[in-house]
């Protein structure tokens, strides 16, 4: 069973499904099978959301425990929560800006320091790229492109067997024309942020 397992974790409304779909579309365009499992409905109202993407010769769209090759975390605590899918060879990309859950404000478990979360990730997996995607997207001028910054970062790791150009082609088919330039920039800047020199 040869496959690449990409696990997405974040909070409802962050563009996670859109991001994963872009890789899936690009993958199919490049002749590699892709299946995804998505979360819709109740779980979307500000709750934890995951999306599972598997490229290659597999049937189940869900990634077995410990079998994620790449984790793309859109929020630090959600990234750490997804460690159940990781092994010591997993590569992790994580946004660093926290979204504090209401449970914390109401006196529940405190939100850990982001540095501690990232440091812990580094102990558990092969490589961790902490990417300030939200801040980068704001700098670009279109905050909604944070998910594409993270996609770019995922491409920069070299783990996804696709050309950056294929992702760009897919973006130009799926993103409204007026937002395309910002999306391209987001993809490129994300790519640069993790590309091995």
């Amino acid at each position: 069973m040869s496959s690449l397992n990409v696990f997405f974790a974040g909070v409802g409304g962050q563009g996670i499904i859109t991001g994963a779909s872009i890789i899936a579309r690009a993958s199919i365009a490049a002749g590699v099978n892709a299946v995804m499992s998505e979360v819709h409905g109740m779980a979307q109202r500000g709750g934890s959301v995951v999306c599972e993407l598997r490229l290659g010769d597999v049937h189940s769209p869900m990634i077995p425990e410990g079998e994620a090759d790449l984790i793309i975390g859109f929020e630090p605590v959600e990234t750490v929560r997804s460690l159940t899918r990781a092994n010591h060879h997993t590569v992790v990309i994580t946004e660093v800006r926290p979204i504090i859950p209401v449970s914390v404000s109401l006196g529940g478990t405190a939100y850990p320091a982001v540095e501690d979360l990232v440091a812990y990730l580094r102990l558990q997996v092969a490589a961790v790229y902490a990417v300030p995607a939200a801040a980068m997207a704001e700098e670009i001028g279109l905050p909604q492109t944070a998910n594409v910054v993270l996609l770019g970062a995922a491409m920069g790791t070299g783990l996804i067997p696709l050309e950056l150009g294929t992702i760009r082609d897919t973006l130009s088919r799926t993103v409204p024309a007026k937002a395309l330039e910002a999306n391209f920039r987001a993809l490129q800047e994300g790519f640069e942020s993790t590309r091995k020199v």
């Binding site: 069973m1 909070v11 409802g12 779909s21 899936a24 579309r25 199919i28 099978n33 892709a34 299946v35 995804m36 499992s37 998505e38 979360v39 819709h40 409905g41 109740m42 779980a43 979307q44 109202r45 500000g46 709750g47 934890s48 597999v58 049937h59 189940s60 769209p61 869900m62 077995p64 425990e65 410990g66 079998e67 605590v77 959600e78 750490v80 929560r81 460690l83 159940t84 990781a86 092994n87 010591h88 060879h89 997993t90 504090i100 859950p101 209401v102 449970s103 914390v104 404000s105 109401l106 529940g108 478990t109 939100y111 850990p112 979360l117 812990y120 558990q124 997996v125 092969a126 905050p143």
Partner: protein, 624 residues
């Protein structure tokens, strides 16, 4: 147009589709003329897609007031010679079941498919009932796809089977198939037949006792034919994994994917009988299949239905191949399965080691992480309604009120600090159960229902409550949409399912016409006024209705952004005393605590201003 490919995609073209999107393409390839539904996760995207493509496809599509009505619209269309489709979540079929059962008796002329999207593990439902029982209860054939491609292909086949047998076909998916995305290769679209003629035939269509007893006999005859179709159907086929497997596995639906992946992960050879036409089961073929094998395992989600059918069949035919499933094989009877669970079951059964990542699994964070359950959105108008009712109850000193809740986003009011959902059964149950608590206790009762849910199953319950002189305060949380399932229209709105203008039914006018003496419309963003309204309503001896009218904040935000109107609130740090009343009473995801004082996340704030009205020192104001 979004989904253009679903409308004009040619045979051989392919598209990355969600299972639910593939169901629409399948229905279009089958040439349906009428589709009707009531939204419910995990089936909702089917309706979302029809809303966009129905007109361009020449198909009539409506959101009916509830699933029973939707099924009736589709059944009558099919009886008139128009291929028809109705789809709903699993518990929606409970609502539709009264008419569904009879459609099996009277049958159909044109193809009639009833899709039930089940929700093992209750991702967005009140239960995980196994709707495969409905095929057995109604004696109708059932298909179960495993992937988006099969969802598309099986839809076409479902219409063929339905017309061949003149029976409705139950098309059963689960969350993981409905919400699985994969590549789908299209077939040809059959021309749409949008209108037919209803040819009267009372002996066939009117199940008065003299007719219905004969209909049952006829139905069982059709079920025999269905069994024959299942025995010869290509939807039931054998997949070999590895070489020389002497073990057979019978499986269906999404579980097929887990079985194949688990066998490959474990390196176990086996022969897998993939069941796509799952009722009636192809028992002759399964018996033949088992004859040459050492043993037969049945791996199915939820109830042991295939297992029991196969065991009974083997017993009556003297087939000696051992069959195991739920009890002997320890396949769980609760919650959804996955590759990990199926691999554990198989590894345990065959005594082979489980595959573990060579490098070892990562260890989870050593202490509990902050939980992130779904919450009412920033700016959600329900927050104002719950805040007001809680304040009114506190000010009136009402002890131990009971909150009868209903199905919608507002069920999230169950969480602290509102704790405003004490009892919940089903769509519309807030009204009936409110009456029950009033009749059986001395506690005061406050019930909550959404605008869409009110029309779905609240109306008849309200008539009953009024007539029987029940006393409770019913809030209709009228956010001008069906929010939880993705903002579908409902009968109180000015547009219909395909965006055409439609007569809107006023909830307050309906309540008054039914004889409710106290009906008050409030704006939940005005906390003081809303609180006063609740204090008044609580004095009413009978049913008091508060219509809390404010459009869903997600829709309002979209409209405000489009118009370029945007305001947020902020807390003046020097004025804030750190009393945290806003945090405790409003519990908005945009408010957080930093160094003992409240702050508002400007990204999340939606500008509703409710927090500014509860701050005792007026530290919250519009951000300049």
């Amino acid at each position: 147009m979004k989904y253009q490919a679903l409308v004009d995609g040619k045979a051989g073209e392919h598209e990355l589709l969600l299972g639910n999107e593939a169901a629409v393409r399948g229905a279009l390839e089958a040439g349906i003329g009428v589709a009707a539904s009531y939204p419910g996760t995990p089936s909702s995207e089917i309706g979302d897609v029809f809303s966009v493509v129905a007109k361009a496809s020449g198909v009539y599509f409506e959101y009916s007031a509830n699933e029973k009505v939707a099924l009736e619209v589709a059944a009558a269309s099919a009886a008139s010679g128009v291929r028809s489709f109705t789809f709903m979540k699993h518990v929606g079929l409970n609502v539709a079941s009264d008419s569904f059962m009879t459609t099996a008796y009277i049958g159909t002329r044109a193809g009639f498919v009833v899709l039930s999207a089940d929700d093992p593990s209750t991702y967005s439902s009140q239960n995980e009932q196994d709707n495969r029982y409905y095929a057995r209860l109604a004696n109708v054939p059932m298909l179960e796809p495993s992937s988006p491609q099969e969802t598309k292909d099986y839809m076409v086949e479902a219409y063929n089977i339905s017309e061949r047998l003149e029976l409705p076909v139950l098309f059963r998916t689960t969350t993981r198939v409905a919400h699985m995305r994969g590549d789908v290769v299209f077939g040809d679209r059959r021309p749409v037949v949008r209108r037919g003629v209803f040819e009267k035939d009372p002996a066939r269509y009117v199940p008065v006792p003299a007719n219905s007893s004969k209909m049952h006999v006829k139905l069982l005859g059709k079920l025999g034919e269905a069994r024959h179709l299942s025995e010869t159907s290509p939807l039931n086929h054998i997949v070999r994994v590895g070489v020389g497997g002497r073990v057979g596995i019978v499986t269906a639906g999404g579980t097929f994917n887990y079985v194949i992946d688990a066998l490959e992960e474990l390196g176990l050879p086996a022969q897998v009988f993939k069941i796509g036409f799952s009722y009636p089961l192809p028992l002759d073929r399964i018996r033949d299949f088992a004859a040459g094998l050492n043993e037969l395992l049945v791996v199915e989600e939820l109830e042991p239905l295939m297992e029991n059918d196969i065991k009974a069949d083997f017993l009556s035919h003297g087939t000696r191949t051992p069959v195991s499933g739920k009890e002997d094989l320890l396949v769980p009877r609760v919650h959804e399965l996955n590759v990990d669970i199926v691999a554990k079951v198989l590894a345990n059964h065959f005594g082979v080691p489980l595959h573990v990542p060579a490098s070892g699994e990562a260890q989870p964070w050593p202490s509990p992480l902050p939980s992130r359950p779904p919450v009412l959105c920033a700016g959600c108008p329900h927050r104002g309604s719950y805040l007001a009712v809680r304040r009114a109850i506190r000010e009136l000193g009402i002890p131990e009120p009971v909150f009868a809740s209903d199905i919608g986003c507002y069920t999230l009011g169950m969480a602290a600090p509102f704790s405003a959902a004490d009892y919940l059964l089903s769509m519309g149950s807030s009204v009936g159960t409110a009456g029950g608590f009033d009749v059986a206790t001395d506690q005061r009762v406050f019930s909550f229902i959404g605008d869409s849910t009110f029309f779905h199953a609240g109306l008849s319950a309200l008539a009953s409550a009024i007539h029987n002189k029940h006393r409770f305060v019913l809030t209709v949380l009228d956010n001008r949409t069906t929010a939880m399932t993705g903002h579908q229209p409902n009968p109180s709105m000015l547009t219909d399912a395909v965006g055409d203008s439609a007569p809107a039914i006023s909830i307050e006018a309906v309540a008054k016409a039914m004889g409710v003496s106290f009906v008050k419309v409030i704006n939940p963003y005005r906390v003081a006024e809303a609180t006063e309204a609740y204090k008044e309503a609580a004095q009413v001896d009978g049913v008091a209705i508060i219509v809390s009218k404010q459009v869903c904040s997600l829709l309002l935000d979209r409209a405000k952004r489009a118009k370029g109107i945007w305001q947020t609130f902020q807390i003046e740090h020097s004025v804030c005393t750190g009393c945290l009343t806003c945090v405790r009473e409003v519990a908005c995801p945009a408010i957080f605590v930093s160094e003992g004082k409240a702050e508002i996340d400007q990204e999340l704030c939606d500008g509703c201003g409710v927090c500014s009205q509860v701050c005792p020192v007026h530290a919250v104001g519009v951000k300049k």
